[in-house]
Point group: C2
Chain length 761, copies 2
């Protein structure tokens, strides 16, 4: 844990007191989003202190020319960057002609911030003494509408406390924004049009290279003591900015307010010629409804989300706050309504990592969306990969594969590979396996075969072809081997026969063939189409199966475990506990070669395989592997603690499970990795959900039935969660002495509780 300034609370993220050093971390933690856009919790008014500005539009990106020290053949030309978008939250505030700026004012009292997760808004209040000795009280509330995804709203109140004061609001739009993350200091946006009158403003700009057209828009109303004023603003234009100025002499104790409605219309959703008219319609709707009505809808929309996705924890407010924060951020990042979007590792909370899609989506996020949303949301995530199949095939061709083999990118925005470290881009190929696994997982959970039959089988075939071609025959081993890979544990590069990779490769081939045969038998038309499109032959299928059947798995007789990769035991096997604490995190203290030749594991690798394929192994096997590998695991990936929490729970090691749970659920709130100011770890938040539902709840799907074997940390009184299983909504409430199932929707359902079948009605 690196920080603990966040006040524990059931439903809100709260900060009390103003600390310059916490500003950037809070900008990440208090981020808001509505799936279609999102923004860091930057202040509306001027702030001249250290700050990381960020406003993001889902699907709008910039292909930044690759910059590397040493070029390798096959590197992509571009890295798709998450793009800082025009700023529409800005409201310059002047108090007696002095700019209100928390960095430069004399004194700040009663500063507090709240991210109200229940209702979906961000609030802030403080009393500031300016250099001119005016004391003002400020209250701000802001949200991004779930109902109207292009719209956000801000309510900004100022009350002079010690004197009458002239207050000026200058709401503005600014398209002169830059990225912190840029390879060549390129300009990413070009402003093409500005329009501003007494209460509305518009800026049109487009991204360079990708030519996404964006209209940023705003409209403001001002109020005195909640009574709307008819004041017309004074419009101003700068090169890449439009603003409107509203001034008022405000009596001591009176409150001058501005309601700003703003947002983006983009060419993703509108004809390019209609962006401004679309913006005007939205503004009209917003102005008609007004801030309070819009906020009311926002609360209702979030209420609906929480109805289904809330997890309650009794008796442990930090654990409760943690899980809600995770669920809230996931819902802010991705709502599943747009199949062009995906779940970026930082969501709308920062620029880092670029791209929007990693294997995290398939390996960690699908289960959450599958169980807490309608199944079409998870299906959209699968469809996203189907839509990128052509590019994945191209990507494989660039690396020398042929005949329709696909290698899905490590990082992507539009299907093209973005990443450029050879040991990752070219070698962390296990990602292909997760994409096939998600198809299996989706079908297992939903029983919806239509995706496989319509789209998924093509994906499975292309992935199987990749593994087939990527495996080579080793004469000395008389087995197929996969050489030169990076497994999920990125603290090993270019290793041979990573067990996880080999295992999932074998499985991918077998699963593809199983489905080829099923579709051939049961869906002749689909089979004909796919057969024609892929040119699959029985010889190829036989050859593939030969590879799968003869795959090599490194194994230690001495330890009775599969080896993470060949030669793993040649390392100096010093356990993490015996390592000098000053050396950790090793990724901040050791040169890369030292990390690579150490036995230390960044995140579940062999154990990731035992997580995915738990049903292939006995619990004793898992236990052996957990006992062998966990002591070497440094958990320096945000994706590590959740898998270990689930497995520790399964093995009945509740203290360990609980400690991993806290680490995953409060990773950002407590800033374990000392980097939250760069943004939140969005994708690992779905792992937090899994660590409760699959870990403590022990939920599994076996033979078309939900199975549970609930456990509960001693720190908790009870916890509950809901799952949407095949049109049944089942609520599960676990306390120390019993587990309650309530069916909230759907016909009676048989579930398995610790090996016994129970009928829930």
């Amino acid at each position: 844990m690196n920080q603990d300034y966040i006040t524990p609370d059931q439903w809100s993220i709260k900060e009390d007191g103003f600390e310059i050093d916490n500003v950037q971390s809070s900008e990440s933690l208090f981020s808001i989003g509505n799936g279609s856009m999102g923004q860091r919790a930057n202040f509306e008014e001027t702030y001249t202190g250290p700050s990381f500005q960020g406003s993001y539009i889902g699907g709008v990106y910039y292909p930044d020319k690759t910059r590397v020290g040493w070029w390798k053949n096959g590197y992509p030309e571009y890295f798709s960057k998450v793009l800082n978008a025009p700023n529409w939250i800005g409201i310059n505030v002047m108090v007696n002609d002095e700019t209100l700026d928390l960095f430069s004012c004399k004194k700040i009292d009663k500063f507090s911030r709240e991210l109200n997760m229940k209702e979906g808004w961000l609030g802030r209040s403080f009393e500031a003494t300016l250099q001119n000795d005016t004391i003002v009280k400020v209250n701000v509330k802001r949200f991004l509408s779930l109902e109207h995804e292009e719209l956000g709203a801000i309510k900004y109140d100022i009350t002079p406390l010690n004197t009458k004061a002239k207050i000026t609001y200058q709401p503005y739009l600014d398209s002169g924004i830059t990225n912190q993350d840029t390879n060549w200091d390129d300009q990413f946006w070009q402003t093409t049009y500005k329009e501003v009158d007494q209460n509305q403003g518009f800026i049109r700009s487009h991204t360079l290279k990708t030519f996404y057209e964006v209209c940023s828009f705003m409209e403001s109303k001002v109020f005195l003591n909640s009574k709307e004023l008819s004041t017309q603003g004074e419009s101003l234009q700068k090169e890449m900015e439009v603003s409107i100025s509203f001034s008022e002499y405000v009596a001591k104790g009176s409150t001058f307010s501005i309601h700003k409605f703003a947002g983006y219309t983009t060419s993703l959703n509108h004809d390019k010629t209609e962006l401004i008219s679309a913006a005007k319609s939205i503004l009209k709707m917003a102005a008609d409804k007004g801030f309070d009505t819009l906020l009311q809808s926002q609360k209702e929309a979030w209420d609906k989300i929480w109805q289904m996705s809330d997890i309650t924890i009794e008796g442990d407010v930090k654990a409760q706050q943690g899980i809600r924060f995770n669920i809230f951020q996931l819902n802010q990042t991705y709502t599943g309504t747009d199949h062009r979007l995906n779940i970026g590792p930082k969501g709308f909370t920062g620029e880092k990592y670029g791209g929007s899609t990693y294997w995290d989506t398939e390996a960690y996020c699908i289960p959450f969306y599958m169980a807490t949303k309608d199944q079409h949301v998870a299906r959209n995530l699968l469809k996203y990969r189907y839509n990128h199949l052509g590019k994945a095939i191209e990507n494989a061709e660039k690396l020398g594969f042929s005949n329709g083999a696909a290698l899905y990118p490590m990082v992507t925005m539009d299907g093209e590979e973005s990443h450029n470290e050879w040991e990752i881009t070219f070698e962390e190929i296990h990602r292909n396996g997760a994409i096939a696994y998600a198809i299996f997982n989706y079908h297992r959970f939903t029983d919806d075969y239509s995706y496989i039959q319509e789209m998924g089988l093509e994906v499975l075939i292309a992935i199987a072809r990749f593994w087939h071609q990527r495996s080579t025959f080793s004469k000395p081993k008389d087995k197929y081997v996969i050489l030169g890979v990076t497994g999920p544990n990125e603290y090993e590069n270019n290793v041979n026969n990573n067990w996880y990779t080999n295992y999932i490769a074998k499985w991918c081939i077998e699963y593809a063939v199983e489905n080829i045969r099923k579709v051939e038998k049961e869906f002749k038309d689909d089979y004909g189409r796919i057969f024609q499109k892929t040119g699959l032959t029985t010889t190829e299928v036989d050859d593939m199966l030969k590879v799968a059947e003869n795959m090599y798995f490194p194994y230690s007789e001495e330890h009775g475990v599969y080896l993470q990769q060949e030669g793993f035991l040649d390392k100096e096997m010093v356990k993490v506990d015996d390592l000098d604490k000053n050396l950790r995190p090793i990724n901040q203290n050791w040169s890369w070669d030292r990390i690579l030749r150490s036995p230390y594991i960044k995140q579940a690798d062999t154990l990731q395989g035992f997580y995915f394929f738990e049903h292939h192994f006995k619990t004793e096997d898992l236990e052996k592997h957990f006992d062998f590998y966990e002591p070497f695991t440094v958990h320096e990936s945000s994706l590590s603690p959740c898998v270990h929490s689930i497995q520790a729970a399964l093995l009945g090691r509740m203290e360990q499970a609980y400690s991993f749970y806290l680490r995953t659920s409060r990773l950002d709130l407590d800033d374990y990795n000392k980097e939250v100011k760069e943004g939140c770890h969005i994708t690992s938040m779905a792992g937090t959900w899994m660590s409760i539902v699959e870990g403590f709840g022990g939920m599994r799907v076996k033979n078309d039935q939900l199975h549970f074997s609930p456990k509960i940390p001693k720190e908790w009184r009870s916890y509950s969660f809901k799952v949407n299983f095949r049109n049944h909504i089942l609520k599960v409430n676990v306390s120390h002495d019993r587990t309650e199932f309530t069916l909230e929707k759907g016909e009676a359902l048989a579930v398995d509780l610790d090996g016994k079948t129970i009928e829930v009605a």
Copy 2:
């Protein structure tokens, strides 16, 4: 082979006819240097076509801020860049007020270029028809003085052929130069002072960050039909340029000439305040002597070099030209007089690779300088590493080593590591071995123990400590292993137990201990000093030896060969001959992962070990390893063919040896690697020398005696070379029917010829 426009000639590199496409390649091939400075063969007059400008000063570099895609702990902050220096060769030429420019003139006839290696000058002549229809004949000669290392001289003659013409010469100095190779488009030079009068000009500038002060200087004289004119020039200044203009109306058939003396004085060799006065002294000397006298001295100086280092080949002009080109370039690059300098991979012929010192120096260059120069030259190269020992220890500390262990840098200018690819910088650690090997090699050849006793032992101890700490104990193998390395074959990264690395590590420890004991016994005072400085203990020595004695070497019983690294045989063992030719060179056609998992070898790796330690193995062993590894070797490193040529010769495979010889000796002349325009491969040129002397000549030093087992390619009538062995200069002449030894200096010498001792007097 990629080009064949160079005319075969015994003593010169010649090009006839002007081809725009060859300009940049010729700029590399016709480069001149004098060990202390050097330059590409750029034209003196304006040339607006594609050209790669380059003028370099030994020891003057710029630490360019590292730029990588993904930072790893331990990367150096800077990459030492070879620095393009102010241009002093420039002479703008106007003919009837039209700028002479071979890129834009109407017609070029009789263009020829000559790099006269015997005499050490670069010449060029042509007839150009300008746009204004004036036809001029031009003759240029240029050289960098071996005698006066800060001085260069140019003689430029113009003869109007079809009409009287006004000819203007504008000799200039230009410090507004840039690097092609720059990470951040930094400016590398700052100009601080300019001075110009009617015939002299000076520009002072300094490098940014490193603050090397350089005074570029020039003086010009003009002649009509070889008679000096008293014309005073008209001086001109621009921001970073000074020039002097001389005009003359020249009758048809008359020749107007300019002699330009120019060069650099630098703060490396002078007090900063005296650079201009030093320049003036040089100019005075040059003007007094005049061009012809200076050229005469140049011929004599080169004659002296050739006296000792020439290799003659009868009956094969291309082979003769190749070896002389290699010997000439080596002597242009490094003369051994300045122990601060070293042999950059591109010498003074380009910017690529940066740095000046690679393991190439110790592994490939030392033997050439040792045998063709006084032994102090090789000793200076060893001393260079001793001077960098402190930085090598610091470098090892950055990577987690301690107690005075040293890791010499992969690439350096001043002792600090410059390189930034983790798989090279951190893992290509075998370089440390070559540095120890050079000490052994120097002592074996010269019998001079003073270097070891005074300096070398400290280096050996620090290197042995590194290997001791870098080796770890493998329980399953019950041996010491070296994990995560890149061997000499850079087409394998992060492998375990690279045989070459393990072997040289073991040897380094044993050789260090052997010398620790020798110095302890024979040089008590030195031992005391070193003992105190290094804090060496007997326990440490015992521990080291334990590691050396128990080092693991991967071995294949089936093939009877050591394995390049563990798991090598798991690859798809398709030989190079069975590989589709379109796929080669693989480094231009394959993505990096594909190269890594292939069995293809960039350059001698296991065979490099057999080259260094030939005396440890039987010829049958070498044969087995050569037969096993060569068929997988693609020779895509310039350092590959020479070692294979030597070994093929030893194994009596003369056709193969000859083909490797041609490839190494004419690598640049015939542009095998399609990249000569970036500069020549200087360090591998020393390998060419070895391939004749050690390969065909079979020269070895055994038991303080020279051994020869000469062979001769069937294409040659005879060949001869000289070696300076312990103050004997021995000339060896080999023809098909006999070998002649002539002692040119020193007392009678016993040499071994094919196993028989011969007394040479």
